[in-house]
Symmetry: C2
Subunit: 256 residues, 2 copies
């Protein structure tokens, strides 16, 4: 009955808001870069700029974790890297399986950002026997028949689904039945999971559609301002102007 939820319900883990949790990886990435350059401390202003957020938001986010900064000085880079890593659960090892070894699965298998952050690929899985045994990113592809055994033997709790849409729900069911409780879904379909299982979804086509919406709006504004206002007004419209009248394009006719 439960349909795929993007994240857990209202329960805020340890009181940390979801929006903050979603930004912690951004901060961690910026801090890791500073750490590699041996920068000892960083101010909220500098770190916020590096992470692409504003500094008030960053300080508020960090306040949920504790008081890890020093007034007048800033934040100790190494210390923050550790605290955020710990908060995100990256100080432990997370075995993951990737199911579906098309181009996308292969891209994920070869993505360096996993291993460096506590994620270990326990297995690459595909239903195609032609692929079984072939090496991808140095790992042999294993057949889907082995899925349950792999999950149980490696205590895998996180599964990544990169199969075609038609196969995703069945793969999801099998992963969950075998013990997986978190799923990252790249297949363009809504997954149904039992309570207690988290699903996050990455949808390539949806992101493009959202861009198209904004792109269309920009084009509409340009057209509009070129028709109704002198050219110099174009920027003002784009920067926050409102259309003067009510929406004018509610259709009058509804097709049979």
């Amino acid at each position: 009955m439960a349909t795929g939820r993007t994240h857990r319900p209202a329960t805020r883990s340890r009181g940390i808001p979801e929006a903050t949790v979603a930004r912690l990886p951004l901060y961690l990435r910026a801090l890791t870069a500073l750490s590699e350059r041996s920068v000892p401390t960083v101010s909220s202003e500098e770190l916020a700029a590096a992470a692409g957020v504003n500094s008030a938001k960053l300080r508020k986010d960090f306040s949920y974790l504790g008081s890890y900064g020093t007034r007048g000085v800033g934040y100790d880079v190494e210390y923050l890297v550790y605290q955020i890593s710990r908060e995100l659960g990256l100080t432990q090892d997370w075995p993951v399986v990737i199911v579906g070894m098309g181009n996308l699965g292969a891209a994920l298998a070869g993505y360096g950002g996993f291993a460096s952050r506590g994620f270990r690929i326990a297995a690459l899985i595909d239903a195609d026997v032609q692929l079984t045994g072939r090496l991808i990113a140095g790992l042999p592809v294993r057949h889907a028949d082995e899925l349950e055994g792999i999950v149980e033997d490696n205590q895998v709790s996180i599964g990544v689904i990169t199969t075609p849409a038609g196969a995703a729900q069945e793969v999801c069911d099998r992963l969950v039945a075998a013990g997986v409780t978190s799923i990252l879904n790249f297949a363009p379909t809504v997954l149904t999971v039992p309570d207690g299982v988290d699903v996050r979804k990455v949808d390539l086509s949806i992101e493009l559609q959202i861009l198209a919406f904004h792109e269309q709006r920009k084009a509409g504004e340009e057209l509009e301002s070129s028709l109704t206002a002198p050219p110099v007004a174009a920027k003002a419209v784009r920067d926050g102007g409102r259309r003067p009248g009510p929406d004018g394009d509610v259709p009058a006719v509804m097709p049979a």
Copy 2:
């Protein structure tokens, strides 16, 4: 100076909230499936279930588009498909370029969800001369030197970046200089763009880190409840219980 924004500022296009825009593609997908099964009408309850949201939210979302439903009956599937497509700008053709032809770029090039939604791949681009001319998803890879010409000749306004992180900003700059005003960034780096350019970001590792956070929390709850409460209480804790005391793990020592 402007750092990469995920979406435009407070200005809500035509009054449609960002959160609603982000769900329109979900509704469209569910509606397309119904359309293929020749279902003539659908209620907000049914459609919401198919899209994985609740029906109140769906009705509120649709109310921003106009009054497209019929009380007592529901929504005309074909009509809604058309209206949402139009709202998202999918009734027009959007030429896109994909820059960076690794596995991820290849996966996107072969993704069927694009062509069916008004996106047309104008070119696949890579800096590696070894790849130039090779066919990916039936299209020849073109060299990065041609980027500006391709964007201008095809009036490309949407660019997809699937290069390594180190190359992303330069590619972004060149795309923008050539006329691209919307960017979908898969490289794990914050892009800086001038005002008026939209950036959306898809970050594979960030999604996994968010899952790890919740996964860790589940494990912590199980441990906690097994230590402090009879086993039967575990579900209650997971379903919304709060830890009784304040956070107990604020560290006492800060390293030099």
